[in-house]
Each structure stands twice: as structure tokens, then as C-alpha cells.
């Protein structure tokens, strides 16, 4: 299935990439992140990272469905 992945802030700098669309067997957001961390060796797994799916905050265990857009947010720092 196809999933669009978007990277923000630190993650964008680490991957050198704003967004990419990948074709993969599917799985959870966490599994997708792991896969991407293998592809982009600089991408760090941060405990405080957040994930959104289709512009809604989501959990890492959420299983993605075809055509989902996944947003990887490095640890945030509002204020």
C-alpha cells in the first residue's frame, strides 16, 4: 500500500527530506517510523516524538490504511 510520509523540523533536517511516498506492506505508525529510520540513518528515534495521521494527532500503535498521510513530529517545544 502507499503511504505519504512528512517530516518536520529536526526530522526534516535529519532525513534531508520534507515528504516522500512509499510503497510498503503496511503496519503501524511505529513500524513505519522504524522502517524510515533504517532508510535514513540519521533519523533518531526520540521517545517524545509524536505522530499525526491525516492531520489528526494519533498513537504510534495505530495501524495505517492505504493512502494515509503520516506526519512525524520530533519532540515539540511550544511557548
Amino acid at each position: 500500500m502507499k503511504t505519504k510520509v512528512r517530516y518536520f523540523a529536526l526530522f526534516r533536517e535529519q532525513t534531508g527530506c520534507e515528504s516522500e511516498t512509499i510503497d510498503w506492506p503496511g503496519g503501524s505508525a511505529a513500524e513505519l517510523f522504524q522502517m524510515m529510520a533504517e532508510k535514513h540513518s540519521n533519523l533518531t528515534t526520540e521517545a517524545a516524538a509524536l505522530v499525526a495521521i491525516n492531520d489528526e494527532m494519533s498513537g504510534w500503535e495505530t495501524v495505517l490504511i492505504d493512502a494515509d498521510e503520516v506526519l512525524f513530529f520530533p519532540p515539540v517545544a511550544g511557548g
Partner: protein, 144 residues
């Protein structure tokens, strides 16, 4: 608009006016300022990246939660994006309420949640020429 993101200087007077209310006896305001140092580094500028579609939705949710939990009368929050200089206002929270307990609690709740739940990132530019993404856990230069 209870929560908004601004790419120009925050209008502090307008934010306060938005919560002015003759039935309220208490106003609590929090402002996060760009301060000149963080963890031993001298800060020159600060850059906020905001992913607006989610930040605006989650920000509004936070304000709604504050209304529900603390029963305050009025609350607004404005967050900056873009490049900020020393002393500029990075975020403002204004809450008014008949009594001060609720106003203090709601203001504190809103800023705490805004700092940890919204897709907002800050990059500090130091006098040394280095710049670095700062995360909430590392106790950043603005907003304390």
C-alpha cells in the same frame, strides 16, 4: 478565535481585550518571552516552525478543555511563528474569570499543554553562530 498562530508581532492589547468582561474579577496573563540565554548559550534569535493545520486544531481543543475543567469565562492563546528577536513575545495566554483560582489554574493548564502537545518547534540561534532545535524537555529559552 480562541487559539491562533501569528507570523507577525503578537498584539498583546488585543488579546487582553478579547477576555475583558464586566462579570469577571480576575485576569491572569502569561507571556513567554525570548530570553537571552539557555543552558549556558547566549541566544541571539529564535525561530518557531508551526504546522498550522494540527496546531490550530489541537490549540483550540486545549482552550476548550480549560473552559470545561475550570469553568473560566474567557480564554485566548496566540502563538508566534517565524523568526523572533530577543524580548519578543513568543506566546500569550489570557484568561478571565469571576474568581482568581480558576483563572490561575486555567492559564497554567493552557500554557503547559501548549508546550507539550502542539506541533511547534523552536530553533535557537546562538551568538556563537551555532543553531539548534530545542525540545521541551531541555528547558528552552522562551516561556520558561
Amino acid at each position: 478565535m480562541r487559539f491562533s498562530v501569528s507570523n507577525t508581532a503578537i498584539d498583546v492589547a488585543a488579546a487582553k481585550k478579547a477576555v475583558t468582561d464586566n462579570s469577571c474579577g480576575a485576569l491572569v496573563v502569561f507571556e513567554g518571552w525570548i530570553r537571552d540565554h539557555n543552558e549556558g548559550q547566549q541566544v541571539e534569535q529564535l525561530e518557531y516552525e508551526v504546522y498550522r493545520p494540527v496546531a490550530e486544531k489541537e490549540g483550540t481543543k486545549i482552550i476548550d478543555e480549560a473552559f470545561e475543567r475550570f469553568g473560566v469565562s474567557n480564554a485566548v492563546c496566540i502563538h508566534r511563528e517565524g523568526l523572533l528577536e530577543l524580548g519578543e513575545v513568543a506566546v500569550i495566554v489570557c484568561v478571565s474569570s469571576p474568581h482568581r483560582d480558576a483563572a490561575f489554574d486555567a492559564c497554567r493548564y493552557i500554557i503547559d499543554q501548549v508546550k507539550t502537545r502542539l506541533p511547534i518547534w523552536k530553533k535557537e540561534h546562538y551568538v556563537s553562530g551555532i543553531s539548534e532545535w530545542v525540545s521541551c524537555e531541555h528547558c528552552a529559552a522562551a516561556g520558561g
